[in-house]
């Protein structure tokens, strides 16, 4: 296990070295979003939930997804560009353990980012509480690991920063915005409400929001099953990609 934990520690150290980009920047964007939407829609409610709380949990969930995906994806693409990817190829590490080390580092970054974000911004939201702490821990971990492993999978295949920008701009961001971060998907006109229900990210955000506020945009148990199943599926994809790419880069 020394092997895998050393890689995990290296990846944690890496994002700590550039904490302005990796930790502080998402907190600033959360404050900006919160300020704008807090002013525009202050006092409104969604299903009995203050809108500012609804969107706050959505924004935190968005940060979990973004931080978890970006951490390994950027680290691997940078490694390919600088040639340091060879360190992974030379080390006696199993493919799955490489992916898990990166995904755990992504989880750590998400925990640190969200923890600090809540410390800094939580006082804006007096209604903030935790509906189900155990479910929150589970949903948080599953979401961060799922997108961390997705970041590893994508980082293994991405040829350069262009691919990464394409993925984040044209795939991740639309998925995030159509996942119910800013509004309940039930408010969308047909067929977009149905389309959004099939957006895998919707289930991550819905589950996290339910764990924090008790409000759910659909059955939270279905979301839990979907999130767990997707995490397992992404693990398999990550393992196969790492196995293939570690011997072909």
């Amino acid at each position: 296990m020394t092997y895998m934990w050393a890689l995990y520690a290296r990846e944690v150290k890496r994002f700590q070295k550039i904490w302005m980009d990796t930790v502080f920047s998402p907190i600033v964007s959360t404050i900006l979003f919160l300020s704008v939407f807090g002013i525009v829609a202050g006092g409104q409610e969604i299903g009995g939930l203050p809108y500012v709380l609804f969107i706050y949990v959505g924004l935190l969930s968005m940060n979990i997804v973004n931080s978890s995906f970006s951490n390994p994806a950027f680290a691997l693409v940078i490694g390919k560009n600088t040639g340091t990817i060879v360190d992974l190829q030379l080390a006696p590490l199993r493919p799955w353990s490489i992916g898990v080390a990166y995904a755990l580092a992504a989880l750590t970054r998400a925990l640190l980012t969200i923890g600090l974000a809540v410390l800094v911004t939580g006082w804006f939201i007096p209604e903030l509480g935790i509906n189900n702490p155990f479910l929150l821990l589970l949903a948080f971990s599953l979401t961060a690991l799922e997108f961390g492993m997705l970041g590893v999978t994508f980082g293994m295949w991405a040829k350069g920063f262009e691919s990464l920008t394409f993925m984040t701009t044209f795939v991740m961001q639309p998925m995030i915005f159509l996942a119910g971060v800013f509004y309940p998907i039930a408010n969308l006109p047909a067929p977009w409400d149905t389309v959004s229900a099939f957006n895998p990210l919707h289930h991550n955000i819905n589950l996290l929001r339910y764990a924090v506020t008790g409000y759910s945009d659909g059955n939270p148990m279905i979301s839990l099953v979907v999130v767990a199943a997707l995490a397992a599926l992404v693990f398999v994809a990550m393992h196969l990609s790492t196995k293939k790419k570690m011997r072909a880069l």
């Binding site: 092997y3 600088t82 992974l88 190829q89 006696p92 011997r247």
Partner: protein
């Protein structure tokens, strides 16, 4: 148990939108315990492809590679623990210090955390880098970065060291230091394989060499035997004026000329008579590695 046994290994690349490259064609190499083995060949001969496969970074299409009896494909992890590799490209973690680079890299090779500091200090002392331990790797000079690459390869105390052009781009003094280190590691029992473009380096260090060209082994064996074999059949000479009519049997090899010998007395007489007053130097005895290399790879 041989440190390295390569049997009938081949590798073909199929890059998209580019022609297929047959990098290695049924290559076989054997390296014995405690030897310094040189892998030589012109650019594009297949050396780096072979090293990529020995390091477990590339899969062979056919054949088998064993590191101390462990199959690099099926026993990858165990085999990787036994080897240290200095890749050709100098790469480093931009944000990390020398200590951090070695700390994490050694951990990824299974060195327990309580042993890492002592190992890092020992290997950096060997490589004259101890005073740079807390410098960021990106601030090191080119030669220091090269030494850091060697430190990474040695940090987990491998039994078999692979050096892919370790002295490329380093100054003479550092090259000498690297040679000394290679000799010392070898005396301590480490088997070493290295590639180099400096033929005098291979001549200085290697017990045995393998010459590859166009993805095939063109010659392998003991360097001294090879030198004797080539020297027995020819002599080499340099001329003041090379723009003269040459004997039919004379071949140009770099700045030298080679003349095959069948009968020493009459042949020498024929040569000296033909080039009277124009012979700058004439050599017999061991052929240089450069001569063997040029002869076998042209």
């Amino acid at each position: 148990m041989l440190p390295l046994l390569v049997s009938q290994v081949s590798k073909t690349f199929h890059p998209s939108k580019r022609p297929v490259v047959e990098a290695l064609k049924t290559v076989s190499i054997k390296i014995e315990q405690g030897k310094i083995h040189g892998l030589l060949g012109p650019n594009g001969a297949g050396k780096s492809t072979l090293i990529g496969m020995l390091s477990g970074m590339l899969l062979p299409d056919t054949g088998k590679i064993e590191i101390f009896g462990l199959d690099i494909v099926s026993d990858t992890l165990e085999a990787k623990k036994l080897i240290g590799v200095v890749p050709q490209e100098v790469t480093y973690e931009m944000a990390f210090t020398v200590r951090e680079v070695l700390h994490y890299f050694s951990g990824m090779h299974g060195v327990p955390s309580h042993e890492r500091n002592a190992r890092i200090e020992a290997v950096l002392t060997d490589l004259d880098l101890l005073d740079k331990i807390d410098e960021r790797a990106k601030h090191l000079s080119g030669g220091m970065k090269r030494r850091l690459m060697i430190a990474k390869a040695l940090i987990h105390k491998p039994k078999f060291l692979i050096l892919d052009e370790p002295t490329a781009g380093v100054d003479v003094a550092l090259r000498q230091k690297i040679w000394q280190l290679v000799r010392r590691l070898n005396q301590e029992g480490m088997t070493i394989l290295f590639t180099t473009h400096y033929l005098e380096e291979a001549e200085q260090l290697c017990d045995e060499i393998t010459l590859i060209n166009h993805g095939q082994v063109v010659r392998e064996g003991n360097l001294k035997d090879m030198q004797t074999e080539f020297a027995q059949n020819s002599i080499h000479f340099e001329l003041f004026d090379i723009n003269v009519p040459h004997l039919a049997e004379v071949k140009s090899i770099g700045v030298e000329f080679e003349y095959p010998l069948t009968d020493l007395g009459p042949d020498m007489h024929a040569l000296t008579s033909h080039y009277t007053g124009n012979i700058k130097s004439i050599k017999s005895g061991a052929a240089s590695l450069e001569t063997i290399f040029l002869e076998l790879t042209r």
